[in-house]
Each structure stands twice: as C-alpha cells, then as structure tokens.
C-alpha cells in the first residue's frame, strides 16, 4: 500500500557493464575524496585557536567583588529561589566587627555552593540578583572531572580573587568590539 508519494520504488535490475566493472564508480568516489583533499579544513587547533563564542555565552559562575574588593553577595537567597534546577544553596551569616573590608553588607554568605551537575546555565540567578553579585562568565566553563563532589563549587572556587589584576578580563565587562557586536545583533533582532 502506498502511504505517501515520497516513497521511491527501487527496481532490482541487473547491473550494467559500467556498474559491474567497478572502475567508473571507484573513479567517481576518488574524485569526491580528492575534492575534500583541497577543501577548507574543519579543524580548530584548540589551545592556540578558539572557537568563536557568542559574547552572551553563559559559562561558569563567579561571585563578584566591588571596587574596594568587598564581596557583593548578601545571601538574600533570591538566586536560589530563581534557580529552576535548584542548584544553589547558601548559608547566611552576620558580619563581625573588623570584617567591613571583606563584606559589603552586614549580612553575607558564610557558604555558597552551586552544583554544576544540576545547573542548566540559564542565567536566571544573574537576573534575580539585586546586588549584581553573581554573574555567568562568557569565557570560562565548568571543566570535566572524575568525581561527582568536585562539581559542587564552594566559595573558594566561585568568589573572585582579591587582586583586581587576577580577575577575569572578559565576560561581564565586554570589550569594545564585543559590545559593538552585541549591539549590532540586538539591533538586528529588533528589525
């Protein structure tokens, strides 16, 4: 029974002499491979060459510090609430005397953990944060590891280093050309 018109009837005919001689078909095949010999290669030599990535790519999280190097996070828990994958847990604590240069607000996160196996990198935590403390970097990814517990990132791996020079240069602060590319893309989307 014929259900659609797309089905193709394949008649089992005896092969012609040219088909049985193999050689024409072989030569055609070799022509195809030779074409690929001269075609552009798909390889990207990874450490030297990077795949072009969108400036809005959402990678590994970072907990930002402010200009004086204080942690921005105030452990309000909005990110954990916003998280659709329930990957974020935190424990809030009160700032002690003499810790003013460490934490910006009086309340801070004693522990802050993100389970990278649960995280879907949607960026909702970033949008929920009222203190501009959590961001998803555009240039870093969670690398593969051997153990599951290594994927639970604590504050030691999430908070930015104190030294401003050691901080990620890309990502949140877009470079001029990235900003331009982003603006162009947004304009294109509007049109």
């Amino acid at each position: 029974m014929k259900l659609t018109n797309r089905s193709k009837h394949m008649a089992k005919k005896p092969m012609t002499l040219a088909e049985r001689a193999y050689l024409p078909a072989i030569l055609t095949g070799m022509g195809i491979t030779l074409k690929h010999f001269f075609s552009k290669k798909a390889t990207i030599r990874y450490p030297e060459e990077l795949r072009p990535m969108s400036p809005t790519f959402r990678g590994l999280h970072v907990l930002k510090r402010d200009e004086q190097g204080k942690e921005r996070c105030t452990a309000c828990g909005l990110c954990a609430v916003a998280c659709p994958a329930e990957a974020i847990t935190m424990v809030a604590g009160e700032r002690k005397k003499g810790e003013q240069n460490l934490y910006r607000e009086e309340k801070y996160a004693v522990s802050y953990e993100i389970n990278m196996l649960r995280c879907i990198f949607c960026g909702l935590c970033e949008e929920a944060c009222p203190k501009a403390a959590i961001y998803l970097q555009a240039d870093k990814m969670a690398p593969p590891r051997f153990e599951r517990d290594e994927f639970i990132y604590g504050k030691d791996r999430l908070v930015e280093p104190v030294d401003p020079n050691a901080r990620s240069k890309r990502g949140i602060q877009l470079t001029a050309e990235q900003a331009e590319a982003l603006a162009r893309r947004m304009a294109g989307m509007d049109a």
């Binding site: 070799m30 491979t33 030779l34 690929h36 010999f37 075609s39 290669k41 798909a42 390889t43």
Partner: protein, 380 residues
C-alpha cells in the same frame, strides 16, 4: 679465502649506493606512516598530526619511541621462536625487494668510474621482485599462526589464500609486459622508455590488473582482509605489541614503497622523463658530456621519486576512499575477473606484436655481453 675482493667492495661506491637504497627505503617507510595520517586527515577535512615538531614532522619519531617503550607481550601457548621470527621475516622480505629497483641511470666520475644508482643489477630483476613479493606472505602467515589465536590464524589463512590468488593475475599481467619489453631487467625496461612513450601506452589493461594486484599483495584497503578490524580484531597482528607490531606496520609501508617503485619503473618510464635527450643535447652544446650525463641522471632520479611519491599517495588515496571488499568478493574478483582479463591481455598483446611488430628491434644474444653502462651512454 680471498678477502681483498670483499674489502674493495665494501669501500666502493656501489656499497654506498646499497647503503643509500636501504636507508632511503626505511626513511620513506617512516614518513609514509606520517603521510598516511596526514592524507587520511586531509581527505576527511581534518589537518592530521601537527603537534610534534613543525607541521608534525617529528611524529614518526614520537611513534617509534612509543612503540619501543611499549610492553613486549607473548601470548600464552604461543610458539615463541616463530612469534619473533614472523615480523622479522615480514621486514626482511619487504626490504629485499628494493635491491633491484633502478633509482637512476649512471653517474660518471672524472676518473672514469661509473656509479649505477641501483643496489644490484640482475638480468632477472622482474622475476626477483616477483619472487620476493611472493615470499612476503610468510611473515604474516608465521606470525599469525604462532600467536595461538583464532583471529590471528584466520588472518594468516586469508593472507595466504589472497596472496596466492592475486600472484597469478599479477604474473599474467607481467608476462604481457614482458612480451612488449623483451627483457626481465628492470634497468633495461626503464632505459627502453627513454623516448617518453611509456609502457602504460602499450599495456593499459595490464597496468590496471597489475595495480589491483599490487593493492592485494601489499594488503592495503580495499584488500586488507588479513587485518580486517571489523571481523578479525587485528587479523594476523592481533597479539602483537611493541616494536614487533611496529615491524609489521613498517613492512607494509616498505611494501607500498616497493610496489610504487616497481609500478613507476615498469609502466611509467622509471627514471626517464620526456625530453631528456633534448636536455642532454642542449647541455652538451655548452658543457662536457660527463656533466650533461650526470645532470640528466640526477633529474631522472628526482622524476622517479616524484612518480613513486605519487603512487604512494595513490595507495593512501584509495585506502581512504574505498571500503573493504568482502572475502568472497575478493576471491571472485581475483579468479573470475582479473585472471581471465589477464589471459585476454596476453592474447591481445601477442596479436599486436604479431601484426604490428615488437617495440624493440630483435637483439642478438651476443650483444648481451656488452656492459649496460656502455650501451646506455652510446644510446644517448
């Protein structure tokens, strides 16, 4: 016992040529492993190994270090002596064949010495190559049998049956060529084609048969049934590791090199290139004959290597284009297609020679006594 002949041979130019031929065979086989990977990559839109050294040129070295430092493994119940002997034999027979290939004409020295760019000149060169190639299968068979592994054994059996079947068609193709050239010496055959009318013109069908058989004899895809990964794990070298494995791989590439060299010599003019006597005449008008002869010889050697490299590339090109034949297809192709075509080719060649005359004028046997060098110089 007289050793003076031996010592004078050891320090002669000819021994240097032998050493060079040996070294070049090994070098080309080494870089064939690299070329194979690069060609495979390029045909598949990749770039291939490029990490070890500039453009990955040190990759063969890295591979060799890896193979040498791997664990030597002897399977339980293996025949240890034959297990070691197998790869040795494969390598030896592969290297032996390059001895008679003429890599160039002669170089004339100022003091009247003549250097033949060929390890040894025998007047049965073609038979020698054929014999050595037919021995090549022993390395595979012995290694496969001694491994005490059913996959290895099946690989060895396939190798044996395949080699014997395709040797027949190959021999028939060579006989037709022999009828055209009238000589078995590879050097003579190469010299006959100096006018640019290569033997491929006289033997197109024979060449197709020969090249198909060459693929089968070197166990290259589409005829690599003895080491068919999808059915036999690794075929005859399943149980091999370390440098013993390396020797098998190496022997395959040397075989490819030798087959390429033989094909270029027999069908594509060997070290001759079109317009060489024009060049010779042009050079003799301003330079000495000695200089002209040597320049033509060196250019001829370069052309031969260009032809060889093309055929090595061709082997790789086919390997990464065609899928493997099934075993019954292989046998059917060998016996019911190539073999009758080869006999037909002999008949056609015979009829051609009968009606249009042979390519070379009939030579009297007494001429054989004249040294080849003298004749070549005279012919040019």
């Amino acid at each position: 016992m007289d050793f003076s002949a031996l010592t004078s041979f050891v320090i002669s130019w000819q021994s240097l040529v032998i050493l060079a031929v040996f070294g070049i065979s090994l070098l080309i086989a080494t870089y064939s492993t690299y070329a194979e990977r690069v060609v495979a990559a390029f045909l598949q839109d990749r770039v291939g190994p490029d990490r070890a050294g500039p453009y990955g040129l040190l990759q063969p070295l890295a591979d060799a270090v890896k193979l040498f430092t791997k664990e030597e493994f002897f399977p339980a119940g293996a025949n240890r002596a034959l297990f070691v002997f197998g790869p040795c034999l494969a390598m030896t027979t592969a290297l032996m064949a390059s001895a008679v290939i003429p890599f160039g004409n002669t170089l004339l020295l100022g003091n009247g010495d003549v250097i033949r760019l060929q390890a040894i000149e025998v007047n049965i060169g073609m038979l020698y190559v054929f014999g050595v190639v037919s021995l090549g299968v022993y390395g595979l068979m012995i290694g496969g049998w001694a491994s005490n592994n059913k996959f290895s054994l099946l690989g060895a059996i396939r190798a044996a049956a395949q080699a014997v079947s395709y040797e027949l068609a190959m021999g028939m193709a060579l006989i037709a060529l022999l009828m055209v050239t009238g000589t078995l010496s590879l050097r003579e055959i190469a010299l006959q084609q100096y006018d640019g009318l290569w033997n491929i013109v006289y033997q197109p069908l024979g060449f197709i048969i020969f090249i198909v058989c060459a693929f089968a004899e070197t166990n290259r895809t589409p005829f690599d049934l003895p080491e068919c990964e999808t059915e036999l794990v690794g075929g005859y070298h399943t149980e091999y590791s370390s440098m013993k494995m390396g020797l098998y791989l190496f022997a395959e590439y040397i075989n490819v090199f030798v087959a390429s060299a033989v094909m270029s010599t027999l069908y594509f003019g060997g070290f001759s290139f079109p317009g060489e006597h024009l060049l010779y005449n042009y050079l003799t008008s301003s330079q000495s004959e000695l200089f002209a002869h040597n320049v033509v010889t060196i250019l001829g050697t370069v052309t031969l290597f260009a032809k060889i490299f093309f055929f090595i590339f061709f082997f790789m090109w086919v390997r990464w284009t065609l899928p493997r034949f099934r075993y019954d297809q292989l046998m059917r192709l060998g016996w019911t297609m190539l073999f009758p075509i080869a006999i037909l080719n002999i008949l056609l060649t015979g009829a051609f020679i009968l009606f249009f005359g042979s390519k070379e004028p009939k030579r009297e046997i007494s001429k054989e006594a004249v040294p080849t060098e003298v004749r070549t110089v005279a012919r040019r």
